[in-house]
Amino acid sequence: MSDTFQLDGAAVPFEPGQTVMQAALAAGHYIPHLCYHPEFKPHGSCKLCTVKVNGRTTASCTMPAEANLNVESNIEELNALRRTLVQMLFAEGNHFCPSCEKSGNCMLQALGYDLEVHATGFRHLYPDRPLDASHPDVLLDFNRCILCELCVRASSEVDGKNVFALSGRGITKHLIVNAESGKLSDTDFALYDKAMQVCPVGVILPKRVGFSQPIGERRYDKRPISAQALDDAPRQVDTSGNCEACEDPT
């Protein structure tokens, strides 16, 4: 019998080497997250998955599960902080859900709904981030980047191409394309790269797909992200190489 830890009063079993996030999702307990993806080494940067472990805050995606931990997640104190984090992400970029083709499939939007973010909270920065439409098959809309680095990790660790990187520091930090011109068309990026599939928001988009998926059939139309994430858990790659958490670019 595996060891357990306590999550919001429930016993959660875990295997050696699992993080609190992995064990929780596998056991059917949702912890909000954005930059976590089961196929990649935990990054711990978005802080949405912050929990209290024995009274101290930590990122659950990087916290190794241990027996007898007392983990608090779904408490108002933490959910209020998560709401603030989501509000800050919305204010930092240019997120116009009404005309965004990722709407209904966007983790940031879904988290906003799930956490009941009803107001912007902060003055919008309206950064000037031109699109990169140079690639024949892929559009980059930097306006929506939340700096999760999933594309950076996927392109580097899975695709072996190092197409993306983060540049700058602090509030000026931004996603760039590793090409002398800075244009995606001057890289070997391809429609079927793993980096194409992992973007949780609407930055990396297949061209000419747009709104072809009707309202009602989008990922978060059917179920809120808190339920959908559990459906996807443990979000492992199947034998044919497909991952339920990733999108089919076609």
């Binding site: 061209k207 709104f211 072809s212 998926q213």
Partner: protein, 498 residues
């Protein structure tokens, strides 16, 4: 009193009266009147005070985003923008629509016509029409209608609801859906959805017929007022089907002068700029389109239900066609030229929309699965549709990277800009000139504007080098300084210092 009432010859010392905002219309506008000490009218202007900017900020966006983004111009007729942009993008992707795609879009459009016309007639205008233009202002609203005419109010609400349900089923949402995409649609209409709509359609057709009867009765009971209120002659513009029939989704442009002479007919709208151009005036954010062959001064025209119903050769559904004939024949044809004839024509179109929806719902093509097509990619796309308020033009240029580089929108209310100004000036001559102003008299101005069902939100979508004028007035209203920015962006300062 000047002849045109557009600009007073000597604005100094004239009293300014403003109707701000104009109520029970979509969007924000105001009317200003300049009157002398004897209450004679010297200037009347409909000002549009909103500022939007869609033509500018759509630049750089991917073309497939346009049908969803530009519909945010409006919360009342977003389907019209959604479909006009989609039609333009059909040209961009070189598509010829499949039967399923075209019929689902038509169904969406006629749902939009139905709900928008019902909203306008019952919610916005019935208080004027049923209570009287200068009736008690406290009751002259939809709440007053609910209290005094509960059956009519309920009918209006349910007609609109049905139209919204048609939109929900075809577009995914009642307001701002995503159903229409470049080259087609993203869903069909299932049998279950069809049956849901079919169960109410006969009632909707019946109510729509009764609504035409209400409009006719208003004319019969107030013949002189309704025939002559704000009456003026105007050129007309609309699209018609190849056989001359009314077609609100697709067709060629037809323009006739105020005497009924055809200026052009079945004109391919993909080159609309050869026959229509836009003028700007320094006192309004709204542009002034005109027919090129007639020039800027005389080329203004009227669009919308009154133009469509009077200028089509026939309506291709039997009940609406019978009502059209009755309308055209009424009182020797006088109603067909009356500003308040808009209401009657609008109800005829609502009946036509209900009949079209009934016909389309029985078409098995709605359940087809061939939803999208594409062909040879084009650089430029023009989409034109007859929106509830009139002809709507969307024009885009898209570069090789799929980004929109140019956008021009000429919306229905913009076409009617000069016509609305003519109507309120005529009403000012008829009812206000020389009289002591009252709220009821000023409402006559608003009644004339409402007849057009203007959507001022839609009409103020431009951004860029719009002409602006800033005046510095002294205590008596005399102009001291004026700073103007012309349409080419240059500034000029004119000083009237002694």
């Amino acid at each position: 009193m000047t002849d045109t009432l557009e600009t007073a010859a000597h604005p100094e010392n004239l009293r300014r009266v403003a109707i701000d905002p104009v109520s029970r219309v979509e969007g924000h506008g105001k009317v200003t009147l300049l009157l002398d000490e004897n209450d004679r009218v010297h200037q009347v202007r409909l000002h549009i005070v909103e500022f939007r900017g869609f033509e500018k900020f759509i630049q750089g966006r991917p073309y497939w985003e346009a049908p969803v983004m530009v519909q945010r111009l409006c919360g009342i007729c977003p389907v019209s923008h959604h479909l006009a942009a989609s039609k333009a993008m059909d040209m961009i992707v070189g598509a010829t629509l499949t039967p399923t795609a075209e019929k689902v879009r038509r169904l969406m459009h006629y749902g939009q016509i139905l709900q928008s016309h019902a909203l306008h007639f019952f919610h916005l205008c019935s208080p004027d029409l049923l209570f009287g233009f200068d009736s008690d202002v406290a009751k002259r609203n939809i709440v007053g209608i609910v209290a005094a005419y509960p059956d009519i109010a309920k009918q209006g609400v349910l007609l609109r609801k049905f139209g919204q349900e048609v939109i929900r089923i075809t577009a995914g949402k009642r307001v701002h859906g995503t159903g229409s995409i470049p080259g087609g649609v993203n869903k069909n209409v299932s049998l279950e959805e069809r049956d849901y709509l079919l169960k109410d359609i006969e009632q909707i057709v019946t109510w729509s017929r009764e609504s035409v009867g209400i409009a006719r009765k208003l004319f019969e009971q107030n013949l002189d007022l309704y025939n002559n209120f704000g009456r003026f002659k105007a050129h007309t513009l609309n699209i018609v089907r190849a056989d001359g029939a009314m077609d609100l989704y697709h067709g060629g442009l037809r323009a006739r002068d105020m005497d009924g002479k055809t200026l052009f007919d079945h004109y391919d709208y993909s080159h609309y700029w050869d026959v229509i151009f836009e003028d700007v005036k320094p006192w309004s954010y709204m542009k002034f389109p005109f027919l090129r062959s007639l020039g800027t001064e005389n080329g203004w025209y009227r669009v919308g239900p009154l133009s469509r119903v009077t200028q089509c050769d026939f309506i291709p559904t039997p009940l609406a066609e019978a009502e059209r004939k009755a309308f055209m024949a009424f009182d020797g044809g006088k109603a067909a030229g009356a500003t308040l004839g808009f209401h009657w024509a609008r109800m005829i179109e609502m009946l036509h929309a209900a009949e079209q929806i009934r016909e389309l719902l029985l078409d098995p093509d709605l359940q087809g699965n061939d939803l999208v097509s594409k062909g040879v990619r084009q650089e430029r796309g023009v989409g034109v549709i007859e929106a509830p308020r009139g002809t709507l033009i969307h024009h885009y240029k898209v570069d090789e990277n799929d980004q929109i580089v140019r956008c021009n929108l000429i919306v229905s209310t913009t076409h009617n800009n000069q016509a609305m100004n003519e109507a309120i000036r005529q009403v000012a001559r008829q009812f206000i000139d020389g009289k002591k102003l009252t709220e009821g008299l000023l409402n006559h101005i608003e009644v004339a504007i409402r007849a057009f069902d203007p959507c001022l939100s839609c009409a103020t979508h431009a951004l860029g080098k719009m002409p602006l004028e800033v005046e510095l007035l002294d205590a008596e209203g005399g102009r001291v300084d004026m700073l103007t920015r012309s349409s080419d962006g240059t500034f000029a300062c004119q000083s009237d210092h002694a």
